[in-house]
Subunit: 432 residues, 2 copies
């Protein structure tokens, strides 16, 4: 292998992947690990456990690649065909590999198992193949050079693949003479759709430099904007594009890298030595759960109250029965009292409160499914807003929980501008 | 299309899939939906957003398939190439489709958006293509007959794909003259690993009928066991295997189909006219969130208390300061008082309480990361158990939240047997 861009293909095998019983996450893991070395995968093919199909694909890939990674088909059962197929494509016989037998023997002994014929099949490999150690499982990996193409066969069990990739990436890094200088800058945003972001960029930026590749990854709740450059010489251009995006979307950008909304909110609370409690109706504990997924959440997160029914809003948070009767549970007055109750009962400095109609039932003409009131703030400044976000229940809960966190983030940062989603998701009948 | 087995291939496009930034779950969804019609996918190819690669793959697939489903590349941005590539392979020009323009206009109007040039690109489709409606998003699907091969182009956004697949499957079902009689029976389990389940079956069942295909899908927290038969004549055998599994795993089976643990718990509460509150420390609101994801959760779910710190356990749930000092927050005595506090403050009949060390910090030699105490029950019978489940923080929270729900499920059903995970995940130093 030389330091020119090497051509890499993946060949995945498994009936459970073809049937959709299993979602293939292995190829993403392989691509990410190769990405660390600035090696891109340009094509991947997946077929079931069929020797003829596998042989056709592998032979074709070997002729058009520098590196082929095969994943799956290393197990002990009859439908594990990878070794057999590689031997046919390489034109060599299968034989027992002493290193693989010793590995299987150790593996079985550690587990107090007898080495049986099914397991021993995993040591029958193409003649001339080199072993790749499997630190966690019974199936050895193996690699062969076919012409100019390296073929590496890896196990389908995700944890075994991950451990083996450490070894493979280390080995590849040694073969590649020059350290890669690809650089990816990722910005995490909330409240922007992909097409909105794309449109704002094409309306506002005339001369986007071709050296900086722009990418979007829409997720729920966050959207990632990615700026990739292939050479270190383009880093100033990447920084320039980053500044342009910051000017266009500034207050919608949560942070760089993998930053999560909840993580950013906890960080801001920590910087201010402040604490937060949550009072949730329609989001049902999701805001608390998003916060406590973050290690060290206890620094800033004080308490969470999930108050689904009116009676519980009154009993637990002290929401007045008269307020509930007069305004209904989904109202500005109620989320205000929920937020104040959460602060009072927990001693927290800040609160986020949410009450809405997640559906599919419970909507009315006045307050259709997707209607929600949010309150956020502290004892002196408590803000509220009304949104209409009529999507499927779980997505609604995700987006509204994130909107609550986002509004507190904006407040902690002193951002006064309204987010784009306030106008895009305005409630049908403005209520005050 | 005739009723012989039709040859189906999938072509997936997206740089984010090739780089591993996104795990492709769409192809699994497509395969599962086609599986309902007993249509298998025999090969899938994934490439980045590259017109030349896409064109090569599509042209090759059209020559060797009856049906090609293309997924991705329908968006408004410049790297969305599917329409352009299909036009080239079909040898037709691109043109604006009035139906697609009207769809985009409606879509934008509903969202209070202006139809812009970026969006309008989604209406420029190959001449002669038929539109496939997108009930949820802006990107229309489209289909063409190229020779004998149907090509259907679908959007990459998972929720839009799902809605469109309803239409596609319905249409395919009409074209296939004979209704398939494949039948899949799915059992949802909690607390069994795939290899444990497999081992128990092979140790206990001598004569598994070959007509019944056994499959597993390990997820977090649930594992699905699948029994597939290809013909109606095998339905009694399928039922027989189902009974055998029920005998082997009985109390680990939550339900059939898509049943979720939280859904089953809510159903049992509803049947008994009972209500539940939660008191969560290390799971941080996740149990409440799992319950409130289910529509109609308010029938059985009363209130959730997320009490992270000792001070809040005392202030909100009335846990005695002396109990916390004497036993520590992660102790049997504390989860008992948390559960009682949750019932008392909310008036619920049942409670689940959890206190543990999710990590990565906070472990001690006595109580390492992964240690957790669970309490579940009602005013008269409150049970507790101690587990050690040392996995990554988010997975720990997921599995422990599910274990809490599972223990209540078992209690509501009157199951006295201990689940397999009690012995597999026993705390290192038994504490009483």
């Amino acid at each position: 292998m030389t330091d020119r861009q090497i051509r890499v293909q993946l060949l995945l095998t498994g009936n459970e992947i073809m049937s959709g019983d299993t979602v293939d996450s292995n190829s993403a893991v392989i691509a990410q690990r190769l990405g660390e070395l600035a090696i891109g995968v340009y094509r991947k093919v997946t077929v079931g456990d069929d020797a003829v199909l596998l042989q056709t694909e592998l032979a074709s890939m070997v002729g058009t690649s520098d590196l082929v990674i095969v994943n799956g088909g290393l197990g002990p059962t009859v439908d594990d065909l990878t070794a057999e197929v590689l031997a046919i494509v390489a034109g060599v016989p299968l034989e027992e590999h002493p290193v693989a037998v010793a590995h299987l023997q150790t593996w079985c002994t550690r587990r107090n198992l007898q080495l049986n014929a099914a397991n021993l099949k995993q040591a029958i490999l193409p003649k001339g193949a080199a072993i790749v150690d499997n630190p966690t499982g019974s199936a050895m990996g193996f690699t062969m050079l076919l012409g100019d193409c390296h073929v590496i066969c890896t196990p389908g069990v995700p944890s075994e693949l991950a451990a083996m990739l450490d070894l493979i990436v280390e080995d590849l890094a040694k073969r590649l003479p020059h350290a890669p200088d690809r650089n990816i800058l990722r910005l995490q945003t909330f409240g922007l759709g992909e097409s909105t972001a794309q449109q704002i960029i094409s309306d506002s930026v005339d001369n986007w430099p071709p050296e900086v590749q722009l990418g979007f990854r829409a997720g729920a709740p966050q959207m990632e904007i990615k700026l990739s450059v292939q050479h270190g010489s383009a880093l100033p251009l990447q920084q320039h594009c980053r500044d342009q995006l910051a000017a266009l979307f500034g207050d919608h950008i949560i942070g760089e890298g993998d930053t999560l909304l909840a993580e950013r909110v906890l960080q801001l609370l920590r910087e201010q030595g402040a604490s937060l409690s949550t009072a949730e109706s329609c989001t049902g504990g999701l805001i608390a759960s998003m916060l406590t997924r973050i290690p060290g959440a206890s620094d800033g997160f004080r308490a969470g109250f999930v108050t689904y029914s009116n009676a519980i809003k009154t009993a637990v948070l002290g929401v007045q029965e008269s307020t509930l009767e007069e305004h209904g549970a989904v109202s500005e007055a109620v989320v205000r009292e929920m937020a104040r109750g959460a602060m009072r009962h927990s001693g927290a400095d800040y609160a986020i409160a949410v009450s809405g109609i997640a559906g599919p039932d419970g909507g009315t003409p006045d307050k259709p499914v997707g209607t929600v009131w949010l309150a956020w703030g502290n004892h002196s400044t408590l803000r509220t807003h009304n949104l209409h976000w009529p999507v499927e229940r779980t997505l609604f809960q995700t987006m509204i929980a994130a909107a609550g966190l986002d509004m507190l983030r904006r407040m902690l940062l002193g951002i006064d501008e309204e987010p784009v989603y306030f106008s895009q998701r305005a409630a049908a009948t403005p209520q005050g």
